[in-house]
């Protein structure tokens, strides 16, 4: 792999940038791999990278039915934060946040992680009590957090309507300075390129259509390009987890629903931090390109159509206009949906299944982009050592029998 650097950039500039090497190969599938990863989103690609780098497992294929990062990874609003409520979840998300900070260097690819800080607004007294509780819990876990007053919020976001006469006045906010945003495509591409360089085969335009299970153990996957044998199969397919599970005769505590987002025309810099509001329900940030990135809620019912219900979108846009009256004149450029995998406790499922050799990493729902590096890291460790990584241990499927759910509906309630 050609390393990206300033001298290389200058050298290629002299040749009019006409001879850059492709970022990854397009190999023909082998008949068999040690480990097959289904799903070429950020989580699947990160899993492949850490399997190869941390565990020396390089006989790996990532099987993606579309293009790399074309699922929720390339459809999300890219908010990165770790201010969750419960210890287990906070540790997992904060582990990921630490990886974000050095990720561009690690991958030799600019993922444009920008720690511009994340505000979660409070609009009612109960909101403010919950915020104080959550920030307190964060600090006990060594996670940065502050409770801000309305005046402090207004100083950070001058365009926001902080008037006490607003319909849902802003009473304050939680503030996580280490949070921010990253470039979603770059995350997928960076992991893909780095994994390919370590020998991982990235098989795009290849759909998994079935799973072969023999004597309670997985032996490979049927794909649109033929059967591929594997000792271990790791599924990281977000909204399609139920479909993959059914191929192995399993069911999951997951339901799939569309989550929508939209972006505006590019504007001059006007919104620095990320702003989220659970009460009026919207989340908004300004990308490096200048467009406003706005997230809506999930549909009220199951669906696999990658478009969402109109009333949900209307609610989000209404909330944004209420918070930022100036944005009511901004034109929207694009709008889309992704299928999120919702879990009853708003936490992921990471680990083995009743089928030997078959692993799932799913249930990240509306908020898994932020954990991409951490999820890949702990999942690779789980698959390589065939036991849950300590940070992943509380997130096994067995919690739905034991009842030890990790309820994060409060901290994860705004889809993000």
């Amino acid at each position: 792999m050609e390393r990206y650097s300033l001298p290389r950039l200058l050298a290629h500039a002299r040749r009019h940038h006409e001879d850059w090497q492709r970022a990854w190969r397009s190999p023909t599938p082998k008949d068999a791999y040690d480990t097959v990863i289904v799903g070429g989103g950020g989580h699947g690609l990160a899993t492949a990278y850490y399997l190869a780098k941390e565990h020396g497992v390089t006989d790996v294929a990532v099987i993606e039915r579309g293009y790399l990062g074309g699922g929720n990874t390339g459809r999300n609003t890219t908010i990165v934060r770790s201010n969750y409520l419960r210890d287990a979840a906070t540790r997992l998300y904060d582990f990921a946040l630490d990886l974000w900070r050095d990720l561009s260097r690690e991958l030799n690819f600019n993922v444009m992680f920008s720690a511009r800080g994340v505000l979660n607004l409070g609009h009612t007294l109960q909101d403010m009590r919950d915020i104080e509780r959550r920030v307190g819990a964060n600090r006990l876990n060594g996670v940065d957090g502050e409770v801000l007053t309305t005046a402090e919020v207004e100083r950070l976001v001058p365009l926001m309507n902080c008037s006490p006469k607003a319909r849902y006045p802003v009473l304050g906010a939680s503030w996580q300075p280490r949070g921010g945003v990253a470039r979603h495509d770059a995350v997928a591409w960076g992991y893909a390129r780095a994994a390919d360089a370590l020998g991982v085969d990235l098989l795009q335009q290849t759909e998994v259509l079935g799973m072969r299970v023999d004597g309670g153990a997985v032996t490979g996957v049927e794909t649109s390009r033929g059967f591929i044998a594997a000792r271990r199969v790791a599924c990281v397919v977000a909204g399609n987890s139920g479909v993959l599970a059914a191929m192995a005769g399993l069911r999951l505590p997951i339901e799939s629903r569309p989550l929508q987002a939209l972006v505006s025309e590019p504007l001059k810099p006007c919104l620095d931090p990320v702003v989220m509001s659970g009460a009026v329900h919207c989340y908004i940030s300004q990308s490096a390109k200048g467009d406003l990135v706005i997230g809506a809620g999930t549909d009220g019912y199951n669906g696999y159509g990658q478009r969402g219900s109109f009333p949900v979108l209307e609610d989000a846009v209404g909330a944004v206009c209420e918070l930022f009256p100036a944005f009511s004149r901004v034109r929207m450029n694009r709008h889309w949906g992704g299928i999120v995998d919702l879990c009853p406790d708003a936490c992921p499922i990471i680990g083995p299944t009743p089928v030997r050799g078959l692993y799932f990493n799913c249930g990240w729902g509306t908020g898994g982009f932020k954990s991409t590096p951490g999820s890949g890291y702990v999942f690779a460790d789980t698959v390589a050592n065939e036991r849950p990584h300590p940070l992943a241990a509380p997130f096994g499927l067995d919690r739905f029998a034991s009842g030890a759910l990790v309820d994060e509906h409060g901290a994860a309630a705004v889809a993000h």
Partner: protein
């Protein structure tokens, strides 16, 4: 946006009048005490999450406030059937309000 035909009101109304109430035809176990933790967990949390025709419950919250069953394709979003609560999924008697 869905337009859902309420089998009681006998009218097709916008989805905003309705609330989704989850997968249909899940029976509460007769004797919960007799189940293992795993079986109870499966009853509580595990779902079919079908990609394609899906049997689900809806409630007409801004109308008659009654529950009913819907057979809906989760990919095309086409509503294939609507029938009152209590009727088994394979009932084809046609005797539906």
């Amino acid at each position: 946006m869905l337009r859902i035909h309420c089998p009681y009101c006998q009218e097709a109304r916008s989805e905003e009048e309705f609330s989704y109430a989850g997968e249909a035809h899940i029976r509460r176990p007769e004797d919960p005490e007799a189940l293992s933790d795993r079986e109870w967990g499966e009853y509580l949390h595990f779902r079919t999450n079908a990609r394609g025709p899906h049997r689900e419950m809806w409630v007409h919250v801004a109308g008659c406030r009654r529950y009913f069953n819907v057979l809906r394709d989760t990919v095309s979003y086409e509503i294939l059937d609507v029938y009152p609560i209590g009727l088994p999924p394979d009932d084809t008697s046609g005797d539906r309000p």
